[in-house]
């Protein structure tokens, strides 16, 4: 309780202070809003590699910063790389030298050094036999040495000359972590309480509830636009929609395609849709597992492709929101590799499909197609249509909708529903064609593998992955794609679509990725 005499003293002191202080007109800064994003899922942890998922990809760019980033503000097609924590990079033979931005602070107050960056990309963390985040091996393929050679200089040596290292640094492995803190917490602890250099710092992370982030005002690019960001788990779509309508949520994610019109009808709400760098696909199991697998026969695989009018299916399910890539790997985001006039090798033609079925000697055995139920928008519906189209040409496919990936990946199966990313190397089809299908790629090496790359594919792929002349690289890409199409171990179905809705009073640039960049430039409040 303040006594009258004490109050008098304080009032006097306050008066003196105000008189003594220079009369500076303080700018009237509007308080920054605290934003809530309602999401349908949160991952168990948000370590940059172990925590990779569509759900955590939304959070990553707000907590971490990459060395290099695809700059969608400068170039919405995603062909342009911009420096972030790296300010410059150059290559001499097999060695890339990366210069780092000075004065960058981590959320724990430590200053980012070359040691941190070298550790981030190290064998110990990513690509060694007992790496903390072993999935990093895929993204750091070809790295043989990463070393801090100065306070703000790092060298990356690759086994072969690799022109795509800056592109690789724009992916998950480019998110820089603080070495000392990471080692102190361990990878699991770090995944629960991560520290990065991004525009927001983690206040709390509960994978079953919410991720709460506070503005990091020491961010090297300046304070971010929001006071805080809460990614709140609201699994039920009706809850997300109602929360958006009432203003309880500022953003919502994952709106069912058939509900988009309803969202567009809400006043004060803006719907945003983007095709993202990811394609849904069906893999044909070309291996003798299960024994006597009829899909080992190439003609039967060709028949599977020719029997399905995928273009019509995609248009029926998505309208103009996305498209069917009739020629595999000929994706528009690959710029100079993309050929809009390319013709498919196996166009829709049920009569030819029937003939191919006959030629293959297929006797109507049941082909089991494992699909993770409801995971990809409209996949289940598409599968049901495809099964009927196959039935019409005499192919007996049973689509089995399973509750989780564990069940879907369990053998035996003849076909498998998957999706694959395409943005690992901006503007280069390295990821879908070589990273995924090479002998060390997941489709050839995981427990659920569905093909063994042919010697021709491996030889061409090796040459392609180390080619540094762009024309030669394009030639090898076409050759590699041809070999893949000759075998036809699967079919790409459509480019994935992500959607969000937000209060229309906010300006927000959605990018063609699952991630939500909520920093200045992308978010205007």
């Amino acid at each position: 309780m303040l006594k009258r005499r004490e109050f008098g003293k304080l009032a006097f002191a306050g008066g003196v202070t105000s008189l003594a202080a220079p009369r500076v007109a303080l700018p009237q800064i509007a308080p920054r809003p605290a934003l809530t994003v309602a999401v349908e899922a949160l991952w168990q942890n948000i370590a940059p590699i172990n925590g990779i998922s569509n759900a955590s990809a939304r959070i990553f760019p707000n907590v971490y910063d990459r060395l290099v980033e695809i700059d969608y503000l400068k170039d919405p097609t995603g062909q342009t790389l911009s420096p972030r924590l790296a300010t410059g990079w150059s290559r001499k033979d097999n060695v890339w030298t990366v210069e780092l931005r000075p004065g960058v602070k981590f959320h724990n107050g430590a200053t980012m050094t070359a040691e941190d960056v070298a550790f981030t990309l190290s064998e110990e963390r990513l690509w060694g036999k007992t790496a903390y985040e072993p999935r990093g091996r895929t993204f750091a393929a070809g790295f043989v040495r990463v070393e801090a050679v100065g306070p703000l200089t790092v060298e990356i040596e690759t086994a072969e000359p690799d022109i795509n290292v800056p592109g690789k640094l724009s992916g998950y492995i480019g998110y820089v972590v603080p070495k000392a803190y990471y080692l102190e917490k361990g990878v699991d602890g770090f995944g629960q309480a991560p520290v990065g250099t991004g525009p927001y710092k983690i206040r709390s992370y509960r994978g079953n509830e919410a991720a709460v982030l506070d503005a990091f005002d020491d961010y090297w690019e300046g304070p971010p636009p929001a006071r805080s960001l809460t990614f709140k788990l609201v699994p039920e779509y009706a809850g997300r929609l109602a929360g958006l309508a009432t203003g309880e949520f500022d953003f919502i994610c994952s709106i069912p395609t058939d509900q988009e019109k309803q969202v567009q009808g809400l006043s004060g709400v803006k719907l945003v849709r983007q095709q993202v760098g990811n394609y849904t696909a069906v893999l044909f199991n070309t291996r003798n597992d299960p024994e006597g697998n009829p899909l080992q026969n190439q003609d039967l695989r060709y028949a599977l492709i020719r029997a399905v009018d995928m273009d019509t299916i995609v248009k029926a399910l998505f309208g103009d929101a996305t498209f069917f890539p009739a020629v595999p790997f000929n994706f528009p985001e690959y710029g100079r590799y993309y050929d809009p006039a390319a013709k498919p090798r196996l166009p829709f033609d049920p009569a030819t499909a029937k003939a191919l079925v006959e030629k293959s000697g297929y006797k109507g055995q049941k082909l089991i197609w494992h699909i993770t139920r409801g995971f990809w928008t409209n996949y289940d519906a598409a599968a049901e249509i495809m099964v009927e189209m196959w039935r019409a040409v005499g192919i007996n496919v049973e689509a089995q909708f399973l509750d989780n990936f564990q069940l879907a990946y369990a053998r035996p199966f003849h076909m498998l529903a998957v999706s694959g990313g395409t943005t690992f190397i901006p503007g280069d089809p390295y990821q879908p064609l070589w990273l995924d299908w090479s002998p060390t790629g997941v489709i050839s090496s995981a427990a659920w593998k569905t093909w063994d790359p042919t010697p021709e594919f491996v030889e061409t792929g090796k040459a392609y992955s180390s080619a540094i002349d762009l024309d030669e690289r394009k030639r090898l890409f076409n050759k590699l794609s041809d070999e893949w199409q000759r075998v036809t171990p699967g079919q790409y179905m459509w480019k994935s679509v992500a959607n969000w809705a937000h209060q229309a009073k906010y300006g927000w640039v959605a990018i063609p990725e699952f991630e939500m960049r909520m920093r200045g430039g992308y978010l205007k409040l």
């Binding site: 309602a38 007992t130 072993p134 999935r135 994978g207 079953n208 009706a238 369990a410 995981a446």
Partner: protein, 307 residues
């Protein structure tokens, strides 16, 4: 006599818990490989093996079982494979949220269910009886996930009165509690009505009326205590299910309790967490039944003396 009763109850409880622990342990390990579910789909066989060794999942099942049982006795429920934290810690963090939701739902259920049943019994065959019983049937027949979505659309989306998801304020509690409580209220109303109808025609009720006892006294002092055994049975049985039944409601309303934790843990086959949650839910059911048994003795001296 009383000591023997308690010892037998305690032993029965321990046997039930042992059975639950064993059953959960065996079922979780025989219905799939947790490592495949936990690691990313593109995990290499070597990574899968590394994880298996790290979490001692490569050991024989009997060895894993003995080790798990021994740890349980020391209060160690194991660590979550997903985030590496002690499973018990994760459970205890969320248990208060579920108890709050369950407790408030229960209050709603009792406040609606028992008076409705009494009113229906006192007005047997009349319109009010039929109306109350229709509502009761609606209460327990309506799937709670569907009712939850309807409430969200009506009170959040339409009327904009209540928050649609999450917890934080009292208003966050209302819709999930009502959704969860209305099922129990419906069941309680039906059982209360039946139990009351059975006692309302008993000679002691006629005597009470003949003695000039007021209607309120006849209902609450003479009838209700005598009708309370089936009511208490239903109350007790549903007490446990309010915790386990929260799984769906917590998911619909984004309520951060153990129900939702169970959903994510089962999806990820997080063995330690699933086992811990099933154990906690089972203990809750067992304790509820024990409380019901105790209440029988208090409510009916004949039961007490027969033991």
């Amino acid at each position: 006599m009383r000591t023997r009763f308690w010892i037998s109850r305690l032993l029965r409880t321990l046997v039930t818990i042992c059975f639950v622990v064993t059953f959960t342990f065996v079922v979780l390990r025989t219905t799939g490989d947790p490592v495949v579910a936990l690691l990313s789909p593109d995990a290499l066989p070597s990574e899968i093996e590394q994880f298996r060794i790290q979490w001692k999942l490569d050991r024989p099942m009997i060895e894993q079982y003995i080790s798990y049982g021994a740890n349980l006795l020391t209060g160690d429920f194991g660590r979550s494979y997903q985030d590496g934290r002690p499973a018990l810690q994760s459970i205890l963090e969320r248990l208060p949220n579920t108890l709050l939701l369950g407790g408030f739902s229960y209050l709603i259920a009792i406040l609606i269910g028992i008076p409705s049943g009494i009113v229906a019994a006192l007005n047997r065959g009349r319109l009010i009886d039929r109306a109350v019983m229709s509502l009761a049937v609606f209460g327990f027949a309506m799937p709670n996930f569907f009712l939850g979505i309807l409430l969200i659309l009506a009170f959040s989306f339409g009327l904009r009165m209540l928050p649609s998801a999450g917890m934080g304020t009292f208003s966050h509690l209302l819709m999930p509690s009502f959704t969860l409580g209305i099922y129990v209220a419906g069941t309680l109303a039906r059982f209360t009505r039946s139990a009351m109808l059975e006692v309302l025609d008993k000679p002691y009720m006629k005597l009470a009326r003949a003695k000039g006892a007021a209607p309120f006294r006849r209902v609450f002092v003479h009838a209700l205590p005598n009708a309370s055994i089936p009511i208490v049975t239903i109350v007790g049985l549903n007490l446990g299910s309010l915790v386990s039944g929260a799984v769906v409601v917590e998911t619909v309303f984004g309520w951060p309790g153990i129900g939702r934790l169970l959903v994510t843990a089962v999806t990820a086959r997080d063995l330690a967490l699933v086992q811990g949650l099933v154990l906690v839910m089972s203990i809750f059911m067992i304790v509820s039944n024990l409380v019901v048994d105790l209440a029988y003795g208090i409510l009916d001296p004949r039961i007490r003396s027969s033991r």
